[in-house]
């Protein structure tokens, strides 16, 4: 997407927000300007710290999911025998909303960082695993034959074929599921905790009926999601430029 289009889109959304706020005339929906002032004022007074805490949790969850799901997906995608065994398990667990396990996870891992990181990991793990597995399984046999015929063994195939073929797909899966990860984080942080943007929005601001502060938190959470999205998008373009070719 071009920078100009992005700017135009942001501007349209801000105008819409302002119009809505004028229309409703309620303190529940302050305008963008009020919110911006509250955001700047709140940053040094704790919002910044909550932002960092939430950022750490979601990035740690993502990193853990990538680190475990990519190799697992590669192995399943390469080995039909293993995949035959695990495929029904993945099939059954994939559609289960992992968030329902949050109470259990809180009991097991406590109310600190670990439980939040784990629930994000749990949700992303299956998304990435399935995409990487299918991508690895879909590699054309001709390509594998060709590279094997050049003298490549298992290790070289992994390095020169399977890894470059699947990492971009994993990033795409990640980009798609970042929204889910941040939403889950918000939910997990909205109770039984004392830090994070979810806590700031729900417990701290909403509880005090401090609407501009609450919106400052909403903006911070949106920025977190947006920032992660941009980073993954950029990584995708950097690591897989061939996926963004214009027509030859």
């Amino acid at each position: 997407m071009r920078r100009r289009d992005l700017l135009l889109g942001t501007l349209s959304l801000l105008i819409l927000w302002q119009l809505l706020s004028w229309l409703l005339r309620t303190e529940v929906l302050p305008g963008p300007w009020t919110t911006a002032q509250a955001f700047v004022a709140a940053l040094p007074k704790g919002l910044w710290r909550h932002f960092l805490v939430s950022g750490y949790r979601v990035i740690a969850g993502i990193a853990l999911a990538m680190l475990l799901a990519v190799p697992a997906g590669l192995i399943l995608g390469q080995s039909p025998a293993l995949n035959r065994f695990f495929s029904p398990i993945v099939y059954i667990t994939y559609p289960i909303p992992k968030i329902v396990f949050l109470p259990v996870i809180l009991l097991l891992f406590g109310i600190g960082n670990v439980s939040k990181i784990f629930i994000i990991f749990l949700i992303l793990f299956f998304q990435i695993l399935v995409v990487v597995r299918d991508q690895a399984a879909a590699i054309r046999p001709e390509m594998i034959y060709s590279v094997r015929s050049l003298g490549a063994g298992r290790r070289a195939l992994f390095r020169f074929v399977f890894l470059p073929a699947t990492v971009p797909a994993a990033l795409t899966a990640l980009r798609v599921s970042i929204g889910t990860a941040v939403a889950v984080l918000f939910f997990a942080e909205s109770f039984a905790t004392t830090s994070g943007l979810g806590y700031y929005i729900i417990v701290d601001s909403w509880g005090r009926l401090a609407y501009p502060d609450m919106y400052a938190g909403v903006v911070a959470m949106s920025l977190l999601g947006l920032l992660l999205y941009f980073v993954v998008d950029g990584l995708e373009r950097y690591l897989a430029p061939w996926m963004f070719l214009r027509d030859a």
Binding site: M143, S149, L150, G151, W242
Partner: protein, 283 residues
Amino acid sequence: MTATDTARPMVEVRDLLFYYGEGRDGLPETPAVFSGFSWHAIAGEAWAIIGPSGCGKSTLLYLIAGLRKPRGGEILVDGHPVPRPRASTGLVLQDYGLLPWATIWENVALPMRLGRFYKGKGANGDPVRPYPRPDIPAEQVDYWLDRLGIADQRAKYPAQLSGGQRQRAAIARSLLQQPNLLLMDEPFSSLDAVTREDLQLLTAELRAETGVTTLVVTHTIEEAAFLGRRILVLNSPPNKQPRVVDNPGAGDRGYRGQPAFWEKVAELRGLLAGVSEAVVAPS
């Protein structure tokens, strides 16, 4: 390197048995593709392998490449069995052999990178699976890109090239490691007529330049007659006896315009139709 200074066989197929699939009792599910099949190719020869779909011509190529294992008998390449692919056999497939995420230069340079990847192992000199040479210089990549006429495409990705240019890159890649055996499986089947004839001529030239033993699998009679100095004709399985047609004029630029070419085409057509079994010259 000259074509044939010795009559050393490069490929030897002895009493080959091969079938696909295996039932619960260990017996073949489908009839054998090859049964008691013996055949050989002398180093430096240019072979075409022709036959109808399902005759086993690609199977034979994959067996020689070490990508399939014989169920019985043995296949020797350069005097050794091939339980796994060997780097000094080049393989060019119809399409999809290039890595879509790598530029043309990177694709052609892949044997060089693999050689460096296996640097330590190459020194062991495992005769069964010679690893790619660890010492291919990058200039060789440029040389072959240039020789195949795709030097100006080096920074592009395979998807940005025409089918003919992609096959040129695939050929350049297989020649980079200086193979002594080059296997091609329907390499030009998906190309238009003009491009196909260009690449057939180029293949003949490169074979003459490098002296590499070539086996080209094709279903096109004219391609077999142009590229194969010797032509192996396969028919419906099981293949038991090789039927070989000598075709000394193959590979010459003007051959396609000569009556001898068309006579050979007619002979092959007859053989494939199963009409004139009498003209079969035993190997």
